[in-house]
């Protein structure tokens, strides 16, 4: 059993590296895979392709890895803790709140590279809290259905506010227009470094609480009986989800459905043990995002489609399938 697990793990990591190389080779000018591997292992700054890879394409690929891993782990945690197969940072309003906060901050002139992740985190936290309270106020409480409905309403409202802000602020509109559709093309500035810090904090927390999430899936009473401090665990999960969502939004804007789709795929492969689900969601999510970004650049080449549009195109049918089979 352990041997089989190690084999699958090695296979998944090899697949991730292969698709990462493919991702780098795709672009305005196709670069052969051999050159990609050469540039990564034996960098030579006199070769133009190597410079393109190191300075432009590798950062974008790493951004895809970070965003895909972050959103997928956030979705997996949300689904595990809320017993809700439809939990996802996008569906529950966190992405819309984070985006609005970043747009607002930029419009107010406080959107520095270091400030963007905390702004996004604040927005995600507030909108998530609003979605939760609305669902709780509906008779029957926070069921998967009321949460998704409340999330849809809050997302629509916040997106409208964001649109109004952009109409008023032409310069902000110019700066963030592409980012707001969920794109890995922009943000060549310092945001990446700050966002990576938030991402790592979120991932480490997620890995730390993974074992307890399996326990919590048996009900709060059972988890307490087994010695889990449920309130503390929920705070840790909330922190992790907000940090991961904030770093993903800071890097690439609202990227819908990734946190919904990937955890379900992972559970189909490896079952319900969260000690495995969390690292797997990170690896599969990174691979999924790389593939989506490859599709975004190849589908209508030479025109590039926003990656967020691809994840929505892929995610929406899966969402409908989940509603039909799981609710």
């Amino acid at each position: 059993m352990t041997g089989r697990r190690t084999a699958i793990c090695a296979l998944a990591l090899a697949g991730l590296l292969l698709i990462l190389s493919w991702h780098i080779s795709v672009g305005a000018k196709a670069i052969p895979l051999t050159t990609v591997v050469q540039a990564l292992l034996f960098y030579d700054d006199t070769i133009f392709d190597h410079v393109v890879i190191r300075d432009l394409r590798l950062p974008r690929a790493l951004m895809a890895v970070a965003v895909g891993a972050g959103l997928s782990v956030a979705g997996a945690l949300m689904q595990g803790v809320t017993h809700n197969p439809l939990a996802d940072p996008g569906l529950l309003g966190l992405l819309a709140g984070a985006s609005l906060a970043v747009v607002l901050g930029t419009a107010l002139g406080i959107g520095s590279a270091a400030a963007i992740p905390p702004l996004a985190a604040f927005g995600a936290l507030v909108s998530g809290a609003v979605v939760w309270s609305i669902a709780m106020a509906i008779s029957g409480g926070a069921t998967p259905m009321t949460l998704v409905l409340s999330g849809a309403a809050v997302t629509a409202f916040l997106t409208a506010l964001t649109a109004i802000l952009l109409l008023i602020h032409q310069t902000v509109f110019e700066a963030l227009r592409v980012w707001l559709t969920g794109s890995l093309a922009g943000r060549p500035d310092q945001v990446g470094l700050w966002a990576t810090g938030w991402l790592l904090a979120g991932l480490v927390t997620a890995l730390g609480v993974a074992r307890k999430i399996t326990t919590l899936a048996m009900g709060e009473d059972t988890a307490t009986g087994l010695g889990v401090d449920v309130a503390k665990l929920q705070m840790a999960v909330l922190f992790s989800v907000v940090a991961l969502t904030a770093s993903a939004v800071a890097l690439a804007g609202p990227m819908g459905f990734v946190g919904l789709v990937v955890p379900h795929m992972v559970r189909l492969i490896i079952g319900y043990d969260y000690r495995l689900i969390v690292p797997w969601a990170a690896v599969v999510g990174a691979t999924y995002m790389l593939l989506a970004d490859i599709a975004a650049r190849m589908l209508l080449a030479p025109i590039e489609v926003s990656t967020g549009l691809i994840t929505a195109l892929l995610g929406a049918p899966i969402f409908v399938w989940l509603v039909r089979t799981r609710l």
Partner: protein, 279 residues
């Protein structure tokens, strides 16, 4: 498997420490504006099977949840060897006292063995990973509950009685001297109830563990418990040995039930038969 051919399997490692004393001292518990239990004091005898019975809404489940620190105490304490459980590290409590709540959820996709293994949670940490001792504890718990035969099956695929045995295996794998169980036999066939209670009584008597079980079926409680606690309106109206407490007078007072209490000619235990036509 018929009972007479059953091999007696030790339910716990021989290193089991003797059960600490469980006491409830002036405990008050409630939800929101509702005060369910007020100033309740009760000693739980060590190494016995204690059944808590009472009419619906009398607070018996609330009491059990407060004992298991799932609900906070508004006043008073639940004491484990003199230490209030609500102030102890929750993991330390989990090494001494296990809880099987009324409606535990089996995460889908988890097989029986993996579910039972969750009982080892309080014994593990980052430093102390899964070990031989954990594997042994799971094997013992599954042998004692006769659940090995479906160890690799999914929990959803089992019958009600089998599923309940799996949950009991999980709390047994926790290897605690005290077990609290909330209506573990409700909604099951009488035969299955009897089998489960036989198992639970064995756990109490052969290992000297303390079991506190909230129960619904009066006669099943009377047949298996060493001690009975009768509750009404958040208060303990009677507590003691079964034959002392399970009387016509107490049944009338606690449940408003008019019944004849007879003595089982085989075991000498009380049995109640409701009087027909009486109110």
């Amino acid at each position: 498997m018929p009972d007479d051919t059953r091999v007696t399997i030790p339910l716990a490692s021989s290193t089991m420490i003797s059960a600490p004393r469980l006491q409830i001292n002036e405990l008050s518990v409630g939800y929101g504006d509702l005060q369910v239990i007020e100033h309740l004091t009760l000693d739980i005898p060590t190494g016995d099977l204690t059944a808590i019975i009472g009419p619906n809404g009398c607070g018996k489940s609330t009491l059990l949840k407060a004992m298991a620190r799932v609900l906070p105490a508004r006043a008073g304490q639940v004491l484990l060897d003199g230490q209030p459980v609500h102030n102890m590290q929750t993991r330390d409590v989990a090494k001494l006292m296990a809880l099987l709540p009324q409606a535990p959820v089996a995460p889908e996709g988890l097989c029986v063995r993996e579910l039972v293994a969750q009982g080892r949670f309080p014994h593990q940490s980052f430093i102390r990973q899964w070990s031989r001792k954990d594997t042994d504890a799971v094997a013992r718990a599954m042998a004692a509950t006769d659940t090995e035969c479906f160890g690799d099956r999914s929990v959803d695929a089992l019958s009600g009685g089998q599923r309940q045995r799996v949950w009991i295996a999980m709390v047994l794998a926790q290897e605690t001297p005290i077990l609290l169980l909330d209506e573990p036999t409700t909604f099951l066939d009488l035969k299955v109830q009897v089998d489960l209670m036989t198992l639970l009584r064995r756990i109490a008597h052969e290992d000297g563990r303390t079991l506190v079980i909230v129960m619904h079926e009066l006669n099943v409680a009377a047949a298996f418990a060493d001690r009975v606690v009768m509750m009404r309106d958040g208060m303990v109206l009677a507590a003691g040995a079964v034959t002392d407490v399970f009387t016509e007078g107490n049944l009338a007072e606690v449940f408003g039930l008019s019944a004849t209490v007879l003595s089982d000619p085989e075991t000498g235990r009380p049995v109640c038969i409701p009087r027909l036509g009486a109110r």
